[in-house]
């Protein structure tokens, strides 16, 4: 049988204690153990970006991390983006209003990636957005409306500077 470890992880502001096999990826832990199935798995080898989560505020592929590595750390998944159970985050509203998704499979990874991008660069150019989401593959939209939605979101977030989730304000470049 596979070796196990007991870990403590804060996911979307909520503390979880769990005993996990050491070989389980963070993505599988989030989906199967915590039932947070918003994190999608496309390629499972770090190419598609669908499983992107924020690890201590920094975007990371959840398929390229082990659950044991999250012990003592903070994770934000797509479920942690809305400020509460009823309201959408301005980024999500912008995606809805601009048809920034079709099938929606890549959307969780794109939203988490953009949360980090817009936090560091609140007034991005179209090129900044295109480079920023270059690690996220979308097979439906051709990216055009994703870029439009992201630029719209930047405007909305500048106007309403509230509604940010708790893990949104971490600065992390001082390590």
């Amino acid at each position: 049988m596979s070796e196990t470890r007991t870990i403590t992880v804060i996911v979307n502001g909520k503390r979880h204690n769990a005993t996990v096999p050491v070989r389980i990826t963070l993505a599988d832990f989030l989906r199967h153990d915590l039932r947070l199935t918003g994190t999608h798995l496309g390629c499972e080898h770090g190419v598609c970006g669908a499983c992107t989560v924020l690890f201590d505020g920094c975007s990371a592929r959840a398929c390229l991390m082990l659950a044991v590595q999250a012990d003592g750390h903070e994770i934000m998944t797509v479920e942690g983006i809305p400020p509460d159970g009823k309201t959408l985050h301005p980024l999500q509203e912008a995606f809805r209003d601009n048809h920034g998704l079709q099938c929606g499979f890549c959307t969780p990874g794109i939203l988490t990636t953009l949360i980090e991008l817009l936090r560091e660069n609140p007034d991005p150019s179209e090129e900044d957005i295109r480079i920023g989401i270059s690690g996220n593959l979308c097979r439906c939209t051709g990216y055009h409306n994703i870029v439009v939605a992201a630029l719209d979101a930047a405007k909305r977030m500048c106007q309403a500077d509230d509604g940010r989730p708790a893990t949104d304000d971490r600065r992390h470049n001082d390590r």
């Binding site: 470890r5 080898h45 590595q69």
Partner: protein
């Protein structure tokens, strides 16, 4: 697509890592995991033991010592990308690192992981060759330094002994105002380069080249320093014509032939990218002098 069964170790000090390396068999070291985790998921590697370096203290730093940058092996590529010290003292590395994967990859990926993985087309591997870096490794018998030129011993295989851990890398800095450029060609943004060219130049007041470094990545199992081109540039003034002529010889370098590109295509890229990188480095010297 799940990692195989392994024993997991998360030591806290480099000495503990070396002890584990010396006592365990069939071990893999896990740094940023951006190459090893896909290899585990796809079962390309089947280690009995995985030693996670992410809890090891004292391996993540960037500092300047005696005209060189010393960077800890577990320093994230993101921290190098955003380091003012790197931007000022080693702009080639900054230019190269923005071409490493995507933001999500650089947030986790490390300097040491990239160098030990030794992908022939990896940007940081080419930068280490271009700057004549030295790698510091810790083993059972103590510390030793390896010139980066002697670090790759075969395709994706380093000179590290089984009980050795890469702890830091020293990159000698070039004079203030030097020229630099890192140019790569890849099919998609963020992919490994098919071929990359890293150029460094110093010129005297009359515009003659006094020091040159040209490195090609993606051509063979390890980056190639184009020493003939470097020598040919010395004492010459950089013109489009002279650089074009000198770079023509790069079409004769042996190149690998694979699914991504045939050898002659790589040779063509070697000549073209080298010319562009050298001319860009030269333009940057001129632009810096005007300030």
């Amino acid at each position: 697509m799940k990692p195989p069964v392994f024993s997991y170790h998360d030591p806290r000090t480099p000495a503990e890592v070396v002890d584990l390396l010396a006592t365990l068999d069939n071990v893999k070291l896990l740094a940023g995991g951006q190459s090893l985790m896909p290899m585990l998921n796809m079962r390309f590697v089947l280690p009995d033991h995985l030693i996670d370096l992410n809890c090891v203290e004292g391996l993540s730093y960037i500092r300047e010592i005696d005209g060189a940058l010393e960077i800890g092996a577990m320093t994230r590529q993101r921290d190098i990308e955003f380091s003012d010290l790197v931007r000022r003292r080693c702009p080639l590395m900054r230019e190269a690192i923005t071409q490493v994967g995507h933001r999500q990859i650089r947030n986790r990926g490390t300097l040491g992981g990239s160098l030990c993985h030794l992908d022939p087309a990896a940007e940081l591997v080419a930068v280490a060759a271009a700057l004549d870096a030295k790698v510091t490794v810790l083993g059972k018998s103590g510390m030793r330094e390896i010139d980066f030129a002697a670090f790759p011993v075969a395709y994706m295989t380093s000179a590290l002994q089984p009980d050795e851990l890469l702890t830091s890398v020293t990159f000698p800095c070039w004079a203030a105002g030097h020229g630099y450029a890192f140019i790569e060609f890849s099919r998609r943004h963020g992919d490994f380069a098919i071929v990359s060219a890293a150029a460094l130049l110093e010129e005297d007041k009359s515009g003659e080249v006094t020091r040159a470094s040209l490195t090609l990545g993606g051509m063979g199992p390890a980056p190639i320093r184009a020493h003939d081109v470097e020598r040919a540039l010395l004492g010459r003034a950089m013109t489009e014509k002279s650089v074009r002529e000198i770079c023509e010889s790069l079409r004769k370098i042996d190149a690998i032939d694979d699914i991504h590109a045939p050898a002659n295509y790589r040779q063509q890229l070697a000549a073209v990218l080298s010319r562009r990188a050298l001319l860009k480095a030269h333009e940057r010297i001129a632009a810096g002098a005007q300030k």
